[in-house]
C-alpha cells in the first residue's frame, strides 16, 4: 500500500513539474502547433522524460524498500530492528506472589553467529533471561526455565512491561511484539520495519552482484550465456522451421480453395490452443530434450505464421493483381512480384508476434523441464529461495524479449518500408 502511494505521489509530482513548469520552454514542432491534442492520438508521443522518471522511480522504490546501499540512508524505509531489545515480564505463583524480571534479546542479522548476552540473574524468584533472535525472525523464549518457581511449579506469566497478557494474546513493546503461545510460552518478534527481507526481495545491488557472479562462474554447470544462448537457440530454430512451413502453408491457403478448406479447420482449431497447453503432450512424445522444445516452438510459430501469410495474400488489393495481369505478368511473376511483396508487412507483423510467443513459450517450457535455459535457471533458483537469481533471470528474460522485438521492428523498417503505405 505504501509503495503504491509513493509511486502515485511521484507520478503526480513529476507530471506537474515537467508538463506545467518546464514544458513551456521548448517544443515548436508541428505537433506543438496543434490546438486539438486531447483525443488526437497522433499528437500523443511518449514523453521520454516520463519514461526515464518512470524507470528511476521503480528502482528508487526497489532500493527504498530493500535498504539498498546505492541510496543515501535517509531515503531508506525503516529497516528491521537490530541490536539489544529488552522487555520485562511479571510472573505469578498459584498463591498470588508476583515477581518481575527482565529479558534481554540480541537481535542480529540472520547470517551472523552470535552468543547470548550475559545477564545478571537479579533478585527475587523470577530471574532475568537472555536470548538471540535473527532479524525478521521470531523466537520462543522460555522465561520461566531459570526461575525459582517455574511453570512446572504452577507459576505463570501474567504481564509484559506491566501490561496484562494471557495465552493467545500479545503486547506491543518498543522493540517488537511479545506474544504468548496457548501453553503460556512467550514469543518475541522483533519489529520488522517496512523493508523487504532479502529472501523475498533482494536489493538491486545484490541482484547485480549475482549477475556478475553467475556470468563469471556459471550456474549449475553452464555459464549464464549458455543458459540464455540455449533459450535463444531454441526460439530461433523453432521459429525458423515454423516460418519455413507456415508461410508456404499460408500462401497455399490464400491461393487455393482446396488448401484453404483442408487446413482451415486445423489452423482455426490450433490457433486458440495456447502453446503452453501442448507442453505435457510434447514431453510425453518427445521428452524434455531439445527435440521436444523445438517441436513445441515450431508449433507455436507455425499457426501464427500461416495465418499471417494467409491474411497477407487475402489483403492484396485486387486492382494490383489486375494491373499486373494486364501488364502481361504470368502467374509465377504475379506471385513473385505482387503477392509476396504485398504480404511481407503482414508476415513481419506475424513474425514479431510469433517471436514473442516463442520466447514466452520457451521460458515456460524450461520452467517445466530442462537442463539448461533461462527458465530452468529461475525455476531451480526458486526452489532454493535464491530470489536474487530469480529476479536476475526475470530481468534478463525481459531484456532479451524486448531486444528481440526491437530487432524485428528494425528489420521491418529496413526490409518493408512500404508497410501501411498502400
Amino acid at each position: 500500500m505504501i509503495p503504491l502511494l509513493i509511486y502515485v505521489a511521484i507520478f503526480v509530482l513529476s507530471y506537474y513539474l515537467f508538463t506545467k513548469v518546464i514544458h513551456h520552454a521548448a517544443r515548436n514542432d508541428y505537433t506543438s502547433l496543434k490546438t486539438v491534442t486531447f483525443g488526437d492520438e497522433s499528437a500523443v508521443r511518449p514523453n521520454r522524460t516520463a519514461s526515464v522518471i518512470s524507470i528511476l522511480t521503480l528502482f528508487l522504490l526497489w532500493g527504498m524498500f530493500t535498504g539498498s546501499s546505492l541510496l543515501p540512508k535517509f531515503l531508506h524505509m525503516p529497516g528491521p530492528f537490530e541490536g539489544t531489545a529488552t522487555f520485562e515480564y511479571t510472573a505469578q505463583t498459584p498463591d498470588g506472589q508476583r515477581d518481575t524480571a527482565t529479558v534481554t534479546v540480541l537481535v542480529h542479522p540472520v547470517d551472523e553467529e552470535v552468543t547470548e548476552p550475559e545477564v545478571d540473574p537479579g533478585d527475587g524468584w523470577a530471574k532475568n533471561d537472555s536470548a538471540t533472535i535473527g532479524t525478521w525472525r521470531s523466537g520462543l523464549i522460555r522465561v520461566d526455565r531459570n526461575d525459582d518457581i517455574g511453570r512446572d511449579e504452577g507459576a505463570e506469566v501474567v504481564a509484559v512491561n506491566g501490561k496484562p497478557i494471557a495465552p493467545g494474546g500479545s503486547v506491543e513493546t518498543e522493540f517488537g511484539r511479545v506474544g504468548m503461545s496457548p501453553k503460556g510460552t512467550l514469543n518475541f518478534e522483533p519489529a520488522k520495519g517496512w523493508q523487504m527481507e532479502p529472501i523475498w526481495l533482494p536489493a538491486p545491488e545484490a541482484v547485480a552482484a549475482r549477475v556478475v557472479e553467475i556470468a563469471r562462474e556459471g550456474f549449475r554447470g553452464s555459464t549464464l550465456w549458455e543458459h540464455l544462448g540455449y533459450s535463444l537457440f531454441r526460439v530461433v530454430v523453432g521459429f525458423f522451421f515454423g516460418a519455413l512451413v507456415g508461410i508456404p502453408l499460408g500462401y497455399a491457403m490464400g491461393l487455393s480453395d482446396w488448401f484453404r478448406g483442408w487446413f482451415d479447420p486445423i489452423v482455426e482449431f490450433m490457433r486458440p490452443v495456447p502453446p503452453l497447453a501442448l507442453i505435457p503432450l510434447v514431453i510425453i512424445w518427445a521428452g524434455i530434450g531439445e527435440t521436444g522444445k523445438i517441436i513445441l516452438l515450431f508449433l507455436a510459430a507455425l499457426w501464427i505464421m500461416a495465418i499471417a501469410a494467409r491474411s497477407g495474400v487475402s489483403g492484396v488489393k485486387i486492382s494490383k493483381v489486375h494491373a499486373a495481369y494486364s501488364l502481361g505478368a504470368s502467374k509465377p511473376q504475379i506471385m513473385r512480384h505482387v503477392i509476396i511483396p504485398n504480404s511481407l508487412p503482414e508476415i513481419f507483423t506475424g513474425a514479431r508476434v510469433a517471436m514473442g510467443v516463442c520466447w514466452g513459450t520457451v521460458v515456460a517450457a524450461e520452467l517445466v523441464a530442462a537442463e539448461k535455459g533461462a527458465g530452468m535457471m529461475i525455476m531451480v533458483a526458486s526452489k532454493f529461495q535464491n530470489t536474487d537469481i530469480v529476479i536476475m533471470g526475470i530481468i534478463l528474460i525481459g531484456i532479451i524479449g524486448f531486444g528481440i522485438d526491437m530487432l524485428m521492428r528494425w528489420a521491418e523498417r529496413i526490409l518493408v518500408p512500404w508497410k501501411g503505405k498502400g
Binding site: 489486375h322 495481369y325 502481361g328 504470368s330
Partner: protein, 269 residues
Amino acid sequence: MSGLAIEKISMRFDLPGGGSVQALKDVTLHLKEGELMSVLGPSGCGKTTLLNIVAGFLAPTEGQIVMNGHTVQGPDAERGMVFQQGALFEWMSVRENVGFGPRMKGMPKMDMAETVDHLLDVVGLQDFKEKAVYELSGGMQQRVALARCLANDPDVILMDEPLGALDALTREKMQSLVLKLWKETGKTIILITHSVEEALLLGERLLVMAPRPGRIHREYRLPFADLGVGQDLREVKKHPDYAKTREEILAMIWDMEEEIMGRTEGAGA
C-alpha cells in the same frame, strides 16, 4: 479486323441470396484503332463492369469481345488498364513501377531503361525516378500509372475514373496530358468518368449509358478532343457547341437519376 469490337455483351450477376442483377444488356460497340471514347452514366449503370469485361477480368454471360481478330479470353498486355488509384506497387520505386511490363516480358535492361526514361520525361517525373511511389502526390501517382501502362505499349488503354480522386487543377493538367498522349501514341482509349466536362473534353466519341439493365443510351461524336490537343482546355470550353452539349447530357443523366430515385422510392413504399 483491326480495332476493338464489343459484341452483344450481357452480364448478369447472381446474388448470393438468390435473384440476380442484370448489369449489362446487349451492349454492342465498335472502336476503330486510335479512337478515344469516353463513357458517362449514372452510378451503377455497369460502366466498371463493361470495362472489366473488355479488360478480360470478367467473362460476360453472353456476347464476346473481339480484339484484332481474336476473341478475348482473359487479361492481356495488349489491353492496358489505368485504375482510379492504389494500383501502383508500393514496394517498387517509380522507375520499377514504370518498367514492370517490359521487365515481365524479359526486355533487355538497356532497352527497358530507355523506355522508362522516355516515359518519365513524357509525364514529367524524371526527377522522381528513384522515389517510392507513396512519397508522391495523388496526381503524380496517376502519372506513374499512365506511364506504367504506356511502357507496355498496349493497343487499347482502359481507364476507370483515372482522374476521379484528383483536385480540379491537377485534374485539368492531367486531362491535357491524356489528350497529348493519345495524339502522340495513337492508342485506342476507353475512358470512364463521372465528370460530364471531362467526357466532353476528352471523348472523341462520348457514350452515355443508362441503368437497369445497363445499356447504351446515346452516342455523340464530338470535335473537342481534337481541338484540345495542344491547346488550353479552357479555350475549348468557350466553343459554342460545348455548353449546349453539356446541358443536354446533364439533363439526360439527371432524368435517369430521377427515374432511379422514383423507382426505388416507389418500390420502397
